[in-house]
């Protein structure tokens, strides 16, 4: 059977991205509203934004997983992948219960895609199905050519995902390590937080590298081991 990660286009929604594995921190309200949206409760269109590596994709994929678990028809479309496709890829998707469009700002570079997105928002509005949008900027700050699109992006609630505190990032790292079955000693977590950039995406990436290395070398995570792997 074909696996998603072997496909030429990878719109894979990672199973590990769920609301259980998400540390919400100060974003409790926005995350809660997105969760409701995934379950067709409350808002029909929600827009979230944060600088890159702010956890938007995790949140959108968690929404997809939750909706799919509840028998809703879902679709996760990352802009960097669909932008190479004809805009017709969006045809008919308004019939799905939940459409999650990631990195919308990347579509805003093309007039054709802006029109397609504009049309999709109108169609979603007509069908009454749920639409989750994520981008690196607020609709106001986005470089769009179509003012019609900008106003539609802000049709529903717009939330900025706030960065987590260091304590919350610790918690997120610990959760992610647990999920991978990896023992993450406190001093190693502290070392990672102190000596490397503290954006969540980067921290998770480093953890993934360490996980692979620790498996390959059959070593536990210690500060010297981490140093030797990450500073190669």
């Amino acid at each position: 059977m074909p696996r998603f990660n072997q496909l030429p286009l990878n719109f894979e929604v990672r199973d590990v991205f769920t609301f259980d594995t998400l540390v919400t921190g100060v974003n409790t309200v926005s995350v809660g509203i997105i969760q409701q949206c995934a379950l067709a409760e409350g808002e029909k269109q929600v827009y979230i934004w944060s600088p890159p590596a702010g956890g938007k994709s995790h949140l959108l994929q968690a929404a997809c997983n939750l909706a799919a678990k509840n028998q809703r028809k879902v679709c996760y479309l990352p802009a960097d992948q669909i932008i190479h496709q004809p805009v017709q890829i969006l045809d008919g998707i308004e019939q799905l219960d939940l459409v999650c469009l990631d990195d919308v700002d990347q579509l805003a570079q093309s007039r054709l895609w802006e029109e397609a997105l504009f049309d999709l928002i109108n169609r979603m509005r007509e069908t009454g199905n749920s639409l989750l949008l994520a981008a690196a900027t607020s609709p106001d700050a986005m470089q769009v050519q179509l003012p019609d699109l900008r106003s539609r992006l802000a049709w529903g609630p717009v939330f900025q995902l706030q960065s987590l505190s260091d304590a919350e990032k610790y918690e997120a790292l610990r959760l992610r390590a647990n999920q991978r079955g990896l023992e993450l000693p406190e001093n190693v977590a502290e070392y990672l937080m102190r000596h490397y950039p503290r954006d969540l995406f980067g921290l998770f990436e480093r953890l993934e590298v360490l996980d692979t290395a620790s498996m390959a070398m059959q070593r536990k995570l210690t500060v010297p081991f981490v140093k030797s792997v990450l500073e190669k």
């Binding site: 199973d15 997983n65 700050a141 802000a154 706030q162 980067g202």
Partner: protein
Amino acid sequence: MSTILWPNCLQKLEQELSDQQLNTWIRPLQVKEEDKLITLMAPNRFVLDWVKQNFQQLIEKILCDLNPDGEVSLALEIGTQARPQSATSAITQTATPDPGFQTRAPVKTPSIQIEHNLNATFTFDSFVEGKSNQLAKAASFQVAENPGSAYNPLFMYGGVGLGKTHLMHAIGNMLLKNKPDAKVVYLHSERFVGQMVKALQHNTIDAFKQYYRSLDALLIDDIQFFAGKGRSQEEFFHTFNALLESGSQIILTCDRYPKEVEGLEERLCSRFGWGLPVCIEAPELETRVAILQKKAEEAGLPFPSEVAFFIAKRIRSNIRELEGAFRRVMATANFTGKSVTLDFAKEALRDLIALQDRIVTIENIQKTVAEYYKIRSSDLLSNRRSRSITRPRQLAMALSKELTNHSLPEIGEAFGGRDHTTILHGCRKITELRDSDMKINEDYKNMMRILSN
């Protein structure tokens, strides 16, 4: 048509594929099962190709296992089955001249399905009138009362999100209310273009023409999207003429006056000006407040007028963004179970109002702190150890750790090449001082506010 094999096949697929794969690619397919032929219909070419490439083999294998004795064929194609009738009014009788539509000619189209696409909640009652939209509302009402006579075409123009579409739907809804079997169609210009392209591809352009030329009222939104689409403009031009000749009502919206739309043919521009072009302007404060109150009333939720004023004063651009801000306050109230007060709304909209999308950099923090304490930025990077410099320096370090994602060594580097342990010490010192020294705590909060806004 019956489906026997497919439900069993779907059950097997559920065991083989993830929920996400099923819900994204398989469940959206429509199924037609006739004798030993199962046809799966995909909404578009992309889904079709994906399913063919990734799941066809598996589906065929399952079907074969389920039906080992007989031959089952699987066909994959683009298409949809006839949709349910909810938003569709099937016109089955021959249309007759109708006093409501003045000189309506008989049409020989005995069975055309009309999808009116109207949103029933957009009515004249739910439209908030103000100085900015008075004329447009009056003209729309006139047209709804006397279609095909006064103001044909009715051309409404103005910026985005000011209520043009609402008025258009209101006219359509009223036309249907007055004459339930009227053939009224609302659609966005993009959709008109899309349908025409499909009709050309499928060689059904005659049916397309017949459909649009048989209507009592055609409502096309945002006609600026016709710009540069010559073939669509040509087709629309002929449809427009046919409808006007037969006394049907045409209502159009655009984001600007027709002659100002670049890429729109001169003959179309001139025809759009034949009826009544009316402008909708951005609503003034009182209208914005009234709009918010109307939305709260529709939602059946209490919404203090001071909150409405607070939002309306800050969101001036258009009604759509006003609605977005309103929805955000209401969604937050709903989620937290709190009632909507002015303080609550200020908190809920904090980042929206404050436009926090400015990126905070270490350099920016150093500049802000230096200005706050009336020292030079270079002092923060220097080795000077007087109290008047070290405290601001430590505050700037703490703010850099709080507001940026830089690592401690990176922050140290930005502070004149200091060691990361110095940064850590500075941050700890500020945490301690904020508990014991009110002045430091106040300074810290002030600078946080300045940098976040």
